[in-house]
Symmetry: D3
Subunit: 214 residues, 6 copies
């Protein structure tokens, strides 16, 4: 029977290109690479929103960027799900949002709770597995707008992988450190170029396969 994977993320999942200031080609985005690798028996849903936070409001946008407020709707739209991959936290590094690695961890914990306590349709008790992916650490950039917007983010984001790993262990979730296979571009210090986003998709395949029992 077909399995379904939800990729819940931000611009790193959407496929923002710091070079073209547009969106990476479909084939270059990590959810597409993962989908191709997993084959036709798995539906992979890409739900990446530029600027999405874990659980913080951002009134600077013309849509709801609080990941915790939108997640229940998305879980219902794509129910039944077998695996939810959550890669969020980069936007939490903005000082006007939160600015602290510890805050992103608390937000991620909230998202896990939302999945675990979700009222799945038709009374099913069993929910999907959860895979937490820490975004690659921010790097220094000459782009002054991004440097200002993410002030302090290089240091804070470097702590995310280890904190997310502990959280995943505590909550019985899978964990993957995107920084182990991908690096952010110095063009803006936050995003992934095409090669790095593809690398992430390839690296997630075995983890997803294992968690899906394939």
């Amino acid at each position: 029977m077909m399995k379904t994977v939800l990729c819940y993320g931000d611009s790193l999942t959407w496929g923002y290109s710091a070079e073209s200031l547009g969106r990476h080609d479909f084939a270059d985005r990590w959810p597409s690479v993962l989908a191709a690798a997993l084959g036709p028996e798995v539906t992979v849903i890409a739900e990446g929103l530029n600027g999405r936070t874990t659980a913080y409001d951002d009134h600077l946008a013309d849509c709801d960027r609080n990941g915790a407020r939108i997640l229940p709707t998305i879980l219902h739209s794509h129910d039944p799900l077998d695996l939810v991959i959550i890669m969020l936290g980069a936007n939490d590094m903005k000082p006007v949002i939160c600015g602290q690695a510890f805050g992103a961890v608390q937000g991620m914990e909230r998202l896990i709770e939302l999945v675990r306590h979700h009222a799945w349709s038709f009374g099913r008790d069993e929910g999907p597995e959860i895979l937490i992916v820490s975004p690659p650490p921010l790097c220094e950039t000459a782009n002054s707008a991004f440097a200002a917007m993410f002030a302090g983010g290089v240091e804070q984001s470097a702590m995310l992988a280890s904190l997310y790993r502990d959280l995943a262990d505590e909550k019985g979730c899978g964990f993957f450190d995107a920084g182990s296979v991908a690096r952010t571009t110095p063009l803006d210090g936050v995003h992934l170029d095409a090669e790095n986003t593809r690398a992430l998709g390839r690296a997630l395949e075995p983890v997803a396969r294992m968690m899906l029992g394939l």
Copy 2:
């Protein structure tokens, strides 16, 4: 270049089966049929949420069912889009939501405005084409819970096709009457069985193809 189609709808798009009280198989849902027909050069995104309304709150749910509040987020997640297919209005027929065909038309108008005034990323002015699809009219049912929940809906929903057609003309949108190719099941009076949801997907292919310029 790849084209992208967003299918924004409710349980008729999600694929609710009144027989199994679960979800239709992937291959039977109309967005899947449409995707298969359009081929690999078109990405079709299925965004069907059980209970979604056009623009009305429904506090009976554990997620946001107001189609107008969620649409901007979804438009950003899947930007750039070439075509947005909106099939909503059935849940507006519930008296506790709205209960009037005219109310669904006003809600649909709001959704059109949201697409037209959306702030597309990177300053693009051009948005997607919009195809309005009127849901098939509700039919009588022996299911007393659904009959009560949608009291008056048989009469009101019968007016939707003609009202939506006028709105689409006025606003320069495409229009398709799902009732011309699909019938709701008497099992609950609202939903489509597998054959009818497949029929809808097949019927939408030529319309979508034309609007996409394929």
Copy 3:
């Protein structure tokens, strides 16, 4: 010392013209007529929003039309106030909003409470006088969109004047029946033409003057 009057209303206060489908000339709107009549020692603030309700949500709009949610902000912006004239209720007649004269009365009561319990700046205890104005009753119209949008409104709106008068008496507010000097236009059944909106401004002068102690 200068006195300040706030005119808090809907399209009848904004000056919607059913003929031009635009806005009445500045000089024809009732707040302008009232301002001219009261002279330079009184500042008259026109705060009319198309579609504003007394205290009901309207998610069909791209802004907040719930009069009760916005009023506190407006009271602060124009503090200190000597008189608040509230003419609302016509949009409550829409069945998707409320559809009942009694509901408009309850909404008006809520607005009165908001003024009475407002936390005036700098600890002043004394708030402004309140003048309740019942909108002129809706009339029959050949405009089918408006007829549908306000179905039942002719009967319901005819009850507003007497219900508002009782409420004003009970709450110690002033009252004026706009229907005593102005009639809605059959062009859409709801709005006032230029002559009728001017008539309302002229008729409000003595009431406002008395309530302002001028």
Copy 4:
């Protein structure tokens, strides 16, 4: 060990007196009677809010009357709980709120789901038992304000007991029909006089005792 019972309700639980237009004496309110009957080993928390609905917004009030929006906060404040008694639905009978017995049932179902999916502190999985209490049917009244506010409520509220009983059975909740021991006063058609509210407290004792395993 001490047991805790939460009484979540509206003015019938608060103890509104249609005679004094104030609050019944502490000893006359049904939660107090129940507490006295259950003895010092049971803490009974009275959480009755005038105007509270099951799950519908009421913007006519200066506080949040939507029972579904406030319940999670109250569940946390009084956690750990052994029994939640929910007596709501009378205010749903107001046409500006919902006006339909079937709508109240849907709202009650939402409240049950909120208790069942609540994230109890410290990772406990086990939540409290739920006892659904249908409010006594509204009766005819000469009070014109209440008659208008609850138009149609006599007929609709008469259906609540049987609909709530079915819901309770389906969801595995306890059920008690308050109309079997108490009658609403013709003074306003909605509320209970002191004798009737005491009677309700007495009648709930054995049910509560059984559900608490005492």
Copy 5:
């Protein structure tokens, strides 16, 4: 006649035990101690919510933790009230919430205003007395999760007593410094053990008695 006291607080009022990671026994919580001391002629309502802030949003929780948004509902539920004891501010010390003593003072001022401008039922003008209680200062802890969550809180919370005292004087409220009789436990740096929470209840008795005119 019976007097009523509302204790509006956070986990210090709820009775969170850093030792058991559960809730203190009923008899050990300060509102229970206060109730026992005041005797049967006074009803003491314990409204402590883990994580409650003065007036700041916390989207990390599954319920509304903003004290200012919930207070009006609670005031109505327990109306008529003779005394409101507010002990909040500890959670404001979290950097993701506010992180500044001055911010807690502003939040406390907002809560005072909400009580003062509350629309008491049945048109009563007179509201309850207000007693501001500053939470005991945070202390150093080896618990790394709490240390991170409340980074900077030791210094900031030490300023609360003096700032709250000034605010209480300015606003005509009573004031009590909980730090004068209770110390936070080094187990997590924030909470009170059973002995300290009991001590607080005992110490509040004479203040409450005086403010209640007993």
Copy 6:
């Protein structure tokens, strides 16, 4: 034909006097000075709210202070508009709100987008010109309450003029540096005395005249 100018601001536009702790006389507020200078052919609307931010929530107030949430309503109330003057950002300097000049710039950008994407009534595409006015830099003050509330604001606000100028250039808006003609008073470090607010009105006349094509 009459032109309309909307002045959207905070206490500097409302006319808060740090001396009287009240409101400057009508004739001294900058919108009044501007109106007098522009003459009877231009309607100038003063919409200044104490505490208004660009796009940040402030739950310490009893009304909505988030400039981005209220702006669409105000744009509709005063439609059609020829020029919108936005002078905001001072309240963003409060650490509990945002505390960073860069955050105010992002908020201002959001306001510009709201004007540009606004759905003007009757299908007009053309919106008003936008004039960004940077508030005069905060100065040191002996007022300890204001010094605490705006900690760090002297440095941050000094950056606003240059950042707003760049934003205005990028977005095709007009720009005026209020600090070039007005200074904040050391009485509280934030506000303008009567002479300085008049000076601002006089200085804005030629800019407004040019942008209005007068």
